[in-house]
Assembly symmetry: C2
Homo-oligomer: 328 residues x 2
């Protein structure tokens, strides 16, 4: 066996923990360190032998790291960490603020080029695998429409929004795609769908003592951007029920391209994910793309990349001839 | 607009006709010729203005062709045409004899390298898009199982086999995936499925006058390799019914990866196609990959390639920055 790819993790929340156990599934990789902004003494990794160090000290360990997986958040961590770390390391991240991807790409690209590194940004399932399927769909069936549905799944951003409503002690929010809308799209009719027709939102809320349930419900369902444009249900539950029935992080969704090929025949391409753990899956995608990032760096390339730029064969540990024989 | 990609078609059956109309859907491409082994006088293209020429004369038109799409059959045409034409042209083909892909790749690779051309082989949906999804599935979820189901769809090879049975005047065969098996796989249980459990085969047969229906049915359902391992139904129909109800070429299928990420969570990835015209879709995929082949050639690369080697962004006519902004 050739030398293992030495991976490190920056940021040790749900995604970092997912990356740790995902790396253990790949015999050609080894985890050489977890880097955190917390006090390393207070961070307990899942694998006992993994060194935990201060992110501020990471430059000292450059020689131990082929690829650094950035597991921080898109809102506060990555805009700063992405460019800073791409200057010194080959990186992979899951930056998912869709509207700001162009500026993030440019910042990371400049840093990665200056450092002679590869920085693979916005890797995961959306952005990531869903993006790939949107691209394939329109390239293959240029006359058609692409539909993305999310869920059923726990939305962190919408759950946070519910938690900010006065009177709410705790809450989770599920995004639920409309089964009727999906069936319509699958049938090939290419409907125009409003926001309200595509998804429902289901909130499960634990109230503060003495809170006014009707007012809380009203404040949630009328909240602009987050809920006002959707059919939203609010169900009040106890703290125990929240813990016992709503602690998982399922997610998933659908990308459907419905189009017609040159002679006018309807053709439908559908890609879907049913995920019992959203961070567990996102980190699995990050780890597979870490292998690709390493290979691009080894090939002498540098700069920012996205899933659009990566030949799929680079994700696999297997030789190209084996992939052709067994999977083509 | 930059110069259009000049495409030519070698072989003008269902696939060639599909390629012709698919090219017309892409504003950055132009069809410069159809090359055929038949007498060009007897070939009527769908577009009036397309020159039809003898395949034997194609070398004379090298200056008009950026990419040649090979639309011949995998059994008799491509094993010879693939290497011969890759020596002189950048080619894309849909070679689909899975067991012989390694030797075909090697033959085409040698010719393409010698000629300084790109030859993109085995492009379509299986091999092709299904292969990509098998690759992504095992790279992202290394602990799991991949399931491929085909249909409901018309199988050319199996229809031909039925037609060879004495007493059969005409026939079509549909491959039908088992809905129960697919549901089981979707649920995440990762069943071991036998050939018989995965697909059924439905034959619609027009008998020769005086043929013994029971004997024909028996000869079909007991045919080794093709039918003996499947639950096969044989329905006898009239020539008119065959024409009116069985002249379309629908197909499709499913690639499902069911696996668990590092912490033991079940994750299911599903890719499916519902195609009203199999050759119409296959040729749409060929045409999108023709763009990628042209770009690889322009970048100075040469040799055989498969879908595993092609960065998805190369399929799209749009600039990388636009793809990141709109699709990522």
């Amino acid at each position: 066996m050739t030398e293992k790819i030495r991976i490190a993790i920056a940021g040790y929340g749900n995604l970092g923990r997912g990356a740790e156990v995902a790396i253990a599934q790949h015999p050609d990789m080894t985890l050489t360190g977890v880097y955190t902004r917390r006090d390393p003494e207070n961070v307990q990794t899942l694998g006992a032998a993994v060194p935990v160090r201060r992110l501020d000290d990471i430059a000292r360990y450059k020689q131990d790291i082929d690829v650094l997986i950035l597991c921080g958040g898109s809102k506060n961590d990555l805009p700063e960490q992405g460019p800073a770390l791409a200057a010194a390391f080959t990186t992979v991240d899951s930056y998912d603020t869709h509207a700001r991807i162009p500026e993030y790409f440019d910042a990371v690209d400049a840093a990665a080029r200056a450092g002679g590194n590869i920085a693979l940004i916005s890797v995961g399932w959306d952005p990531g695998l869903f993006s790939l399927n949107r691209l394939f769909g329109e390239a293959i069936l240029p006359q058609g429409d692409t539909y993305t549905f999310w869920g059923k799944g726990l939305s962190q951003g919408h759950s946070d929004a519910v938690r900010r409503v006065p009177g709410v002690r705790a809450a989770v929010q599920y995004t639920v795609p409309s089964a009727e809308a999906i069936e319509q799209v699958r049938s090939g009719v290419r409907p125009q769908l409003t926001t309200r027709q595509k998804h429902k939102r289901e909130c499960f809320v634990v109230l503060e003592e003495g809170a006014d349930a009707d007012k809380v419900r009203h404040d949630i369902v009328t909240m602009p951007d987050y809920f006002a444009d959707y059919d939203t249900t609010v169900t009040f539950i106890s703290e125990e029920t929240l813990r016992s029935e709503h602690s998982a992080m399922p997610h998933g969704g659908f990308v459907i391209r419905s189009g017609e090929s040159g002679a006018g025949d309807n053709q439908v391409i559908e890609y879907s994910l049913t995920l019992n753990s959203n961070p567990g899956f996102t980190s699995s995608v990050l780890v597979a793309y870490a292998r690709a990032a390493h290979r691009l760096k080894q090939a002498g390339e540098s700069g920012a990349r996205t899933v659009f730029d990566v030949a799929p064969g680079l994700l696999s540990p297997r030789p190209a001839a084996d992939l052709r024989r067994d999977l083509l």
